[in-house]
């Protein structure tokens, strides 16, 4: 059984940044396992721009952003295997993988970083009635067809859900000559970034129909149309609001699910809200020595946030391998009153350096509200926000100084307050 200090599962933006960070901390024995035929992960098909404003202070496309990290991995001579599928990991940090060159690989690591990313919620998870015809794709599948394979999935398009990939594909398909007739969103607000509503829908006069959903799918062999209807506050369709839209293509952009099949095999405890592992301040899961970062941990809006989170995971995995990772007393972080979850869930102040960003999402839209952070019963932070929406990840920076101030604190609570 071949041994490495660190095995990273996934060669997308999370895995690449984690590898670079661990190497910078002096770890030489690193292996990245990637199932695709190239490094870079989902960024390879995200050919639009808007990546890297925080990390590089310039606006890059997805492939340009990932190439910066691929170059670093190459320069640092970090080992990676492409076309390699990890079949199993266990809590002893043994990894079983397979590819056509090595056959079955049995590997062992001192630390593992889970960076497998996420996958799209498919039609089967939606309970839309109607025909099982061709022409229904997840938005990311259509994105791969258009941007990587050079194929157009259809001409008359309706998009269900207003996730960012759906919005980006509304623009992309329009530019490639398709007629995008509507973007239909069940919720009363968009789940995508505001800038994408402007530059992908408004720029092309594509209507965004909020509080509306698809109630029937028509077509025998190929999709012929969908019936949409407005929904009431309980999200049930309102009779009399039905409208038929003829189309040959339906794109689904209805959420992303962290891909944690391998994590489960290693008995990593998952968070019911995010679908990703529960982690501490070091991005360490419930199993010592198994770390995680990126969309497999919780779904991000911005790759820049994935990169910083992955640097943290890589550095801490390195500390763990070197035996200098600090164990001991942790403070629990609770999400309540409008805050759906936090990453991390526990914080050991000894491992945070000068401070730590706690990331979270709210459950609904709040206008003119406050994000409050309580250390036990004391409100330490009270941040005014013009708008909070579920589609945009929020974060608060907790400094080392504030942990020193509340050195006996047992519990940190993050909540939304009206005043």
């Amino acid at each position: 059984m071949q041994e490495y200090d660190l095995i990273i599962i996934g060669g997308g933006p999370a895995g690449l940044a984690a590898a670079v960070s661990a190497k910078d901390q002096g770890i030489d024995s690193i292996l990245i396992l990637e199932r695709d035929n190239q490094l870079g992960g989902i960024l390879n098909q995200c050919i639009h721009n808007g990546f890297g404003l925080h990390t590089f202070k310039e606006e890059l496309t997805g492939p340009e952003y990932s190439q910066r990290f691929i170059d670093k991995v190459t320069d640092l001579k970090i080992e990676y295997k492409l076309n390699t599928m990890v079949l199993d990991i266990n809590s002893n940090k043994q990894v079983t993988a397979v590819n056509t060159e090595d056959g079955i690989l049995e590997l062992k690591a001192k630390a593992i970083i889970l960076a497998m990313g996420c996958r799209e919620r498919p039609r089967g998870a939606l309970n839309i009635p109607g025909s099982r015809c061709a022409g229904i794709y997840t938005a990311g599948t259509a994105q791969k067809y258009v941007n990587v394979e050079g194929l157009m999935p259809g001409k008359e398009v309706v998009i269900l859900g207003s996730g960012d990939i759906g919005l980006i594909m509304a623009r992309r398909m329009t530019l490639e000559g398709a007629n995008v007739k509507a973007c239909v969103e069940l919720m009363p607000h968009s789940s995508g970034l505001k800038r994408n509503i402007v530059q992908c829908l408004d720029d092309f006069n594509i209507p965004l129909k909020l509080s509306t959903t698809i109630i029937n799918i028509h077509g025998h062999d190929r999709l012929e149309g969908v019936t949409i209807a407005q929904v009431a506050a309980n999200r049930k369709p309102i009779k009399g609001t039905e409208e038929y839209i003829a189309c040959d293509t339906l794109l689904l952009s209805v959420g992303l699910l962290p891909e944690n099949e391998l994590s489960r095999k290693a008995n990593v405890v998952l968070n019911k809200v995010t679908g990703g592992p529960i982690v501490d301040e070091s991005m360490q899961t419930s199993i010592a020595g198994i770390f995680t970062c990126g969309n497999v941990l919780h779904v991000h809006d911005l790759v820049d946030n994935v990169t910083t989170e992955s640097y943290t995971a890589g550095k801490n995995a390195a500390d763990c391998i070197k035996g200098i990772h600090q164990e001991g007393q942790s403070v629990e972080v609770f999400a309540t009153e409008g805050v759906r979850y936090t990453v991390p869930s526990t914080i050991n102040p000894k491992n945070i350096g000068n401070g730590i960003d706690v990331r979270f999402r709210v459950g609904e839209v709040h206008k003119s509200a406050y994000i409050s952070v309580y250390f036990d019963d004391v409100r330490e932070m009270h941040l005014k926000k013009k708008i909070l929406t579920p589609g945009e990840m929020e974060s608060v920076k907790l400094t080392k100084a504030v942990f020193d101030k509340y050195s006996d604190c047992k519990k940190i609570t993050i909540k939304v307050e009206k005043e």
Partner: protein
């Protein structure tokens, strides 16, 4: 005097901007948290522009499609013509990020450049 409500697209924060106009002249931009928002507000009301991203075909490469972008922003009303200008363009591998795929697209003075490295098969 008139006002326009905009959402800044300069970064993912998406500031809600209010632009005050006198005829076609911008008097003030408010609601922005940084200089990008001020510039976007002014430009969007006078000469709106966008960076355009698309793709072209590749011959002899590891991948059949090359993603490309305009090197800088071009007038918004030229987006469709810009994508049309790329139809039929075939580039030969190897290709490096930043290679010029089409010079001076639509006489804008802006080049179309490659955004991915593609090796020879």
């Amino acid at each position: 005097m008139s006002t326009r409500e905009l959402t800044c697209i300069g970064c993912p924060v998406g500031c809600a901007l209010t632009v005050e106009l006198k005829g076609k002249e911008v008097i003030s931009v408010s609601g922005n948290n940084c200089k990008i928002g001020e510039n976007y507000g002014k430009k969007e009301c006078t000469n709106p522009t966008r960076v355009v991203t698309s793709s072209v075909s590749v011959s002899g490469g590891e991948s059949a499609v090359l993603p490309v972008k305009t090197e800088s922003d071009i007038p918004k009303e030229l987006i469709f013509d810009c994508v049309k200008a790329l139809k039929g363009v075939i580039v030969k591998a190897p290709i490096h990020i930043g290679d010029v795929v089409l010079e001076n697209v639509l006489n804008t003075g802006v080049n179309i450049i490659a955004t991915k490295n593609i090796n020879v098969v």
